[in-house]
Symmetry: C2
Subunit: 194 residues, 2 copies
């Protein structure tokens, strides 16, 4: 029975994890982050509170269950860019094409609002996002054969990862992203004022 039962444990584990994440998100959206306790989530998912912590490092992590994917996409944008395309250009395209699309997806709206309206989550999201700085910096450095501690690469990585926070709430994300990349490519210029 090795084949048919292979990974039953894995699947059940994944199912439990998903049940917890689903229950958490549902309750958070329904009542607000602060108004939901781990106990509530555990009950809704029909597990014990300790089991919740076996699957997630903390309450905040329950909200951001699918972040590795987006990091991977970002990394891929650099490492698997079209031949002849510059790193900066690859990143710009990634933001304009992939990132904006995801961010403006209708389903994303209420989730975004949840994060937006909970200071604790906003802080966590930002931390989580900028935490990928090292990985992206390494990818950029590799693209140039520079050392992983190269300052210019680290700066580019961080500045690019700041973009989501910077353009948040702008009416025209497209224009906003272009503005930032223009600054990164050509240097900062004073704003044009009447």
């Amino acid at each position: 029975m090795t084949v048919s039962s292979a990974g039953r444990r894995e699947r059940k584990k994944a199912a439990t994890r998903q049940a917890i994440a689903d229950a958490a998100l549902r309750l958070f959206l329904l009542r607000g982050y602060d108004q939901v306790s781990i106990r509530d989530i555990a009950d809704a998912a029909d597990v014990s509170t300790t089991t919740v912590f076996k699957h997630f490092t903390g309450k905040e992590a329950l909200v951001f269950d699918e972040d590795e994917e987006r990091e991977a996409q970002l990394m891929a944008a650099v490492t698997q860019r079209a031949p002849g395309q510059s790193v900066l250009d690859a990143l710009r395209r990634h933001f304009l094409d992939t990132w904006i699309r995801i961010e403006t997806h209708p389903q994303r709206a209420e989730f975004a609002h949840l994060v937006e309206s909970t200071p604790e989550l906003r802080a966590y999201a930002e931390r989580m996002w900028t935490r990928h700085t090292e990985a992206l910096a390494a990818a950029v450095a590799d693209a140039f054969g520079a050392g992983h501690d190269d300052l210019a690469c680290a700066a580019l990585a961080r500045y690019v990862l700041d973009i989501p926070a910077l353009v948040r709430g702008r009416h025209d994300l497209q224009v906003a992203v272009e503005t930032i990349f223009d600054l990164l490519a050509h240097g900062w210029r004073p704003p044009a004022t009447g």
Copy 2:
């Protein structure tokens, strides 16, 4: 006796606050952040634990008791820059002159190590620092008569405030800071290799 006794309450309050902050820092440096409870601090300062929270918003805030000052300095660097000096230049000078001097001050070393070695504090410090983005962005925007929501100004503010995190741990802060400002002024260039 209006003069000599004026604000005795104020002074006592300030004294209590200081006693708490001092006790906290002393214990943190002695035993490490995680190994000190609010209870310990309250006992050392001879107040109740609730009093601690009357003066400080949370445990982390006990460590960063004097941050408004540095924000004010930064703001002043922009608003009170020498005539004819560009904003970017004023900021560069501020970092090279004032910021590096403070950061490399001997007394600062053990404090820096405490923050450095406590992930919770590192995250908090970064958040605290970048939280001033709005204020700095407004100051920069004012310098150009632009609106307070001007994206280019917001980006510059955030990117400048990222500098401490970016150059942390570099052997030559001077060079590191110059590198970043060069990027901000003239755009990003691939690192020179081979």
